[in-house]
């Protein structure tokens, strides 16, 4: 993975000093809250429902054992012993004090980490495929491109006061494991007919109040023009994105209102102009970054067979390991979704367990998934039993990847001042219902996502089953939607009809899964059955 040189280290150190000074001036009253707010947001520090919340960046979801240890230490020293892994591959801490924030950033800087631009109207953490470097179907590892863009976007002097937040995802495969089409900019690294690598650009996707799928703006940007093209996309947005209405300020609204063709034409014009401005790093810089993402030294003699005599272990292998490009290896998914637990949360001790397993068994590397689980990307099959035993003991061994128990849930009203309803108790009840009725296995792949408000941080628009919490005259109410997908078969879920109360929504989810069981043909997933038979039978079962 990428390692800082002296320049990268100087930048994060300077940022810590800058924030320390800004926090001091705020505490002394030299800065008002209105003046301080964008500054602290650009260092990931929110004033949230219970306290300050700090969102630490995990660039394209990749981190080392030492970095995970530091995240554990921060949870213990400055917070209340745990952290929450987010739907953008970051981690957040809920009980932070402003007077500690600069020290936390200093601790992070020691291990090449930061909270730069994890909030604010600027370019946020650039996300990527959590199986990058391991997946057999990738064209190349997408992360060098994400790293190049990370440096370009950090402290960008022109794009730090955008109309609104800006989220970029980079993948390099036909399968979309990063919800790329639902980002402000989605980039897919592809090969053209001459075998050259380039970037397909998609601009104007997003979830929130008005979910949209990003149209393709350019099918092939040569790699030595990647930064220039991104700069052109951002400049058009900075100049023309709406600033009159916070809820219409994302680039998806601009692309929608101009039309993709007109937006593209403006980008192309700006791009031609910028090609003469010298903003593109030399290709040697991309090559330098790529060297950090070379394959680890795999064990060429790694064995393929696994002792499946322990049925619990065998189940976990079947569910939570994913094929790897190297013989004898898999990627192993650490579940942060124990039935009845809080999706995405991990204690400091659990983080340490994960860190040590990575150092010992996965070339010291972990990945955070946007689905709020953690990956050990390169694991020998021969080591799986030892890994699973340790995970199981630490409460990290739930064999439920991509099942109905593997729920994506935003923190909701329990933690978030933007929320209208609690999402975590609903997730807990649903997981418990299906675990108790032993339906999890029968239902197979079922991606259920819950958001506690219309901002859709739980990505409910992209759920096979989506749940949106709303406030109905001061009482929590839940809308059910079906048929969304965040993968390459991207689609937006449709609402079934009137909402339900907290118990009602759990029953409603059970009802729609019963319809699926009744109607499914062959090996169809829930999503496939829904797409084949439509909303009708589900609506009928729910509302009679």
């Amino acid at each position: 993975m990428y390692a800082y040189d002296q320049y990268d280290q100087q930048m994060v150190d300077a940022r810590v000093a800058e924030f320390r000074d800004q926090a001091r001036r705020r505490l002394e009253g030299k800065l008002s809250e209105d003046q301080f707010k964008p500054l602290r947001l650009m260092n990931g520090l929110y004033l949230q429902l219970h306290a300050y919340m700090l969102r630490v960046a995990i660039p394209y979801g990749t981190l080392s054992g030492a970095q995970m240890h530091t995240l554990a230490d921060i949870a213990e020293k400055y917070d209340r012993g745990y952290g929450h892994f987010t739907t953008r591959q970051n981690i957040q801490y809920n009980w932070i004090k402003l007077e500690d924030a600069a020290d936390i950033l200093a601790d992070l800087a020691k291990v090449e980490m930061h909270a730069i631009q994890t909030s604010g109207n600027c370019i946020r953490n650039i996300s990527s495929d959590h199986f990058a470097g391991a997946a057999a179907d990738e064209v190349v590892d997408p992360r060098p491109y994400a790293e190049l863009l990370r440096q370009w976007s950090s402290f960008h002097p022109e794009f730090s006061y955008l109309p609104r937040k800006f989220k970029i995802a980079v993948i390099a495969s036909e399968q979309d494991r990063a919800a790329m089409r639902l980002h402000d900019i989605g980039i897919n690294i592809v090969r053209n007919s001459d075998g050259e690598l380039g970037a397909a650009f998609y601009v104007g996707g997003g979830m929130g109040r008005t979910p949209m799928i990003a149209p393709q703006i350019r099918d092939f940007v040569p790699l030595d023009q990647l930064v220039t093209y991104a700069e052109a996309c951002l400049r058009v947005y900075n100049r023309y994105g709406r600033r009159d209405n916070k809820y219409k300020a994302r680039i998806k609204i601009l692309v929608h209102e101009l039309g993709a063709e007109e937006y593209t034409s403006q980008v192309e014009e700006e791009f031609q102009h910028l090609l003469d401005s010298g903003v593109e790093p030399p290709f040697a810089e991309l090559e330098r970054i790529r060297t950090f993402f070379a394959d680890p030294v795999f064990d060429e003699a790694a064995q393929d067979d696994i002792d499946r005599s322990d049925p619990d272990f065998a189940l976990w292998v079947d569910r939570n390991t994913v094929a790897h490009k190297q013989d004898g290896y898999v990627s192993a998914v650490i579940s942060l979704k124990p039935v009845g637990g809080i999706p995405g949360d991990a204690t400091a001790d659990q983080m340490r367990v994960m860190a040590d397993l990575a150092t010992r068994y996965s070339f010291d590397e972990l990945r955070v998934m946007h689905t709020q689980n953690v990956v050990l990307p390169h694991v020998r099959k021969a080591d799986l039993h030892a890994i699973w035993s340790a995970l199981d003991e630490a409460g990290l061994g739930s064999p439920n990847l991509d099942t109905i128990e593997d729920i994506i849930a935003c923190p909701g009203l329990d933690y978030c001042s933007l929320a209208n309803a609690r999402s975590i108790p609903v997730a807990q009840k649903i997981a418990q219902r299906f675990a108790e009725t032993k339906k999890t296995a029968t239902l197979g792949q079922l991606k259920l996502k819950i958001s506690g408000c219309i901002n859709a941080c739980g990505h409910h628009h992209a759920g096979h089953i989506g749940i949106l919490g709303v406030d109905r005259k001061g009482v929590e109410n839940y809308q059910l939607s079906l048929g969304g997908s965040e993968a390459e078969d991207v689609s937006l879920a449709k609402i079934t009809g009137p909402g339900f109360d907290e118990d009602g929504i759990v029953d409603a989810v059970e009802t729609v899964t019963s319809v699926y069981e009744r109607e499914r043909e062959g090996e169809e997933r829930f999503l496939d059955t829904y797409r084949r038979i439509g909303m009708g039978p589900f609506k009928e079962a729910l509302y009679g």
Partner: protein, 159 residues
């Protein structure tokens, strides 16, 4: 691109004639013309100073850069970042005159403004001189090529 070296040690910013709060980092004498709106400037052949509002298209000035001594870019609210693009666009087009950020200009935005090509600042509220100095000295390196003359990190890596 205009040479935008940070102020040398011992030489603080010059305050301009218009106000005690103005900071200026140019060798030439400050301009005394009143800045007119973009529309008025395009109408008047003798205007030499213009004020660009967030909603204006700075590119409309490009055919007339020769006659401009002063471009003010207004920041009615520091959170409206359109002025950063306006500034950079003008510098990219070769504008070498004074480029002045006016309005809700605060210490914590100065460094980025400088990188976008501003060489003068006329904030609504006076800025603490020590804070200003710290802001300009904050960044030992920069990641991007912009409208100033600072060498980006990628160029230093592959010099």
């Amino acid at each position: 691109m205009v040479d935008q070296t940070p102020p040398a040690e011992g030489r603080g910013p010059d305050t301009g004639p218009e106000s005690d709060t103005m900071l200026r980092y140019r060798e030439d004498d400050p301009v005394a013309h009143a800045a007119v709106t973009v529309d008025a400037f395009l109408d008047q052949s003798n205007a030499a100073a213009v004020r660009v509002e967030p909603g204006d298209d700075a590119r409309e000035l490009i055919p007339h850069l020769e006659r401009l001594d002063l471009v003010e870019v207004n920041f009615p609210s520091f959170g409206d970042g359109r002025g950063y693009s306006s500034a950079r666009i003008l510098r990219e087009a070769g504008y070498a005159g004074e480029l002045r950020a006016v309005g809700d200009v605060l210490v914590d935005q100065l460094a980025y403004m400088r990188r976008c090509g501003f060489d003068a600042f006329d904030p609504d509220a006076p800025l603490d001189a020590e804070d200003v100095e710290a802001a300009f000295a904050r960044w030992p390196e920069v990641y991007q090529s912009a409208a100033d003359s600072r060498t980006p990190i990628w160029a230093k890596r592959h010099a």
